[in-house]
Symmetry: C2
Subunit: 235 residues, 2 copies
């Protein structure tokens, strides 16, 4: 009943035990907990091992650690959630559906003001503009509206995106250094509705993402998910 899983390393065992003490309120919010040296003695391990365990909990947001001041249980634990940015095809195939995609527009165009600003590129800079629909079992799953900066991704002009999913090609060929990501909700406009085969005005989950490498902004994309889609994170 006490141990649920077997955290195979000493550091994880200690982290789990300390987490339990916090959740079970043996150590209350704001309390100072024993220092690393003391816990090392208690658990019969080296201080470095305790350090690793407590760092983990500090990363989780459960502990506040300061030199000399010691380690305290966070008062207002603004915990973090991470989620993996999904690759559409894998996502669809993981759900047991057959993946396909259709590029409905591909054109080299000057970047409109809003996109250029988001990417930090001059307004009107030539970019590749792509609109793609991703299908699961022939039902529209996701609508992708993407701008690609050929100056940050040399060679991209020559890619046939009918065959290569643009996201996958970029991710495989141009890893990014820095990214920005935002969720929002929008009412489907006429085009969204037509491509996602839904009614205008339907609420859509929107994921807006821009990525950069050493050469500048690689790409900026707006993903509109099919109505009812739910994006799950693991905290």
């Amino acid at each position: 009943m006490t141990d649920r899983l077997l955290p195979s390393s000493k550091a994880l065992t200690i982290a789990t035990e300390v987490r339990r003490r916090i959740v079970d309120r043996e150590w209350r919010q704001g309390d100072r907990i024993p220092d690393e040296a003391a816990l090392a003695v208690e658990f019969g391990v080296a201080r470095a091992t305790v350090n690793k365990a407590l760092q983990l909990l500090a990363d989780e947001g459960l502990l506040d650690r300061k030199r000399r001041a010691g380690t305290h249980v966070t008062i207002n634990p603004a915990r973090k959630a991470t989620f993996t940015i999904p690759i559409v095809r894998e996502q669809i195939e993981a759900a047991g559906m057959v993946y396909s995609h259709r590029v409905v527009a591909q054109k080299i165009r000057p970047a409109p003001a809003e996109i250029a600003a988001r990417m930090g590129e001059p307004e009107g800079a030539a970019m590749i503009h792509l609109r793609t629909v991703h299908f699961g079992d022939a039902k529209p799953f996701q609508l992708e509206d993407r701008w690609i900066n050929p100056r940050a991704a040399p060679g991209v002009e020559a890619v046939d995106f009918q065959r290569n999913n643009p996201n996958e090609w970029l991710v495989r060929n141009y890893p990014w250094l820095r990214g920005q990501l935002a969720f929002s909700a929008e009412n489907a406009d006429a085009r969204d509705a037509r491509l996602l085969e839904t009614r205008q005005g339907t609420a859509l989950l929107i994921l807006q993402r821009t990525t950069w490498n050493d050469l500048g902004a690689i790409t900026s994309v707006r993903l509109a998910f099919h109505p009812g889609y739910c994006m799950v994170a693991i905290p």
Copy 2:
């Protein structure tokens, strides 16, 4: 031009340099990179330091590491994004607005099927149901629809949620062990629209969250943000 920031530790310096080699395509996707011992020699540090740096990049999703097989650059880097689950009051105050909240409903009620299932509690179990509107400068910012399980959070029945923001009280008093979090989009229904002072049908960003501790599900909440709200994550 080369170093943008000063990663004050050797491990971070190495991680930054390895990340650069990947982004600059000196080490391509799928390539095997030199082993820890070799990198330790190259950078003039102990192997443990290289290990720490490479673990960091593996956590980021840039590297795949396997015993005996070595370290490879991830072929399809499904990178992760983390975002801190915000505390409404802090979020509103950080934006320079004045925070206030109003509990529009508070009642002990049997949990409806959907909520009970989500929380893993028996259908019809007595729970505290709360509906709260959070305001920034007197404008509705977020609508909170929360179910609290008094069996996992003893003492919650006695709390005056008119004075204590329910989220903050829970977070401060009952840290959770496990959580579930999902984003979606919904068209505002009549009540959403009235409480958020918008029109029915407007697309709303919905955040659904459930948390557990040793005793079971603590709370399950549906947060509806004001129209146009954007939830930003860091890499």
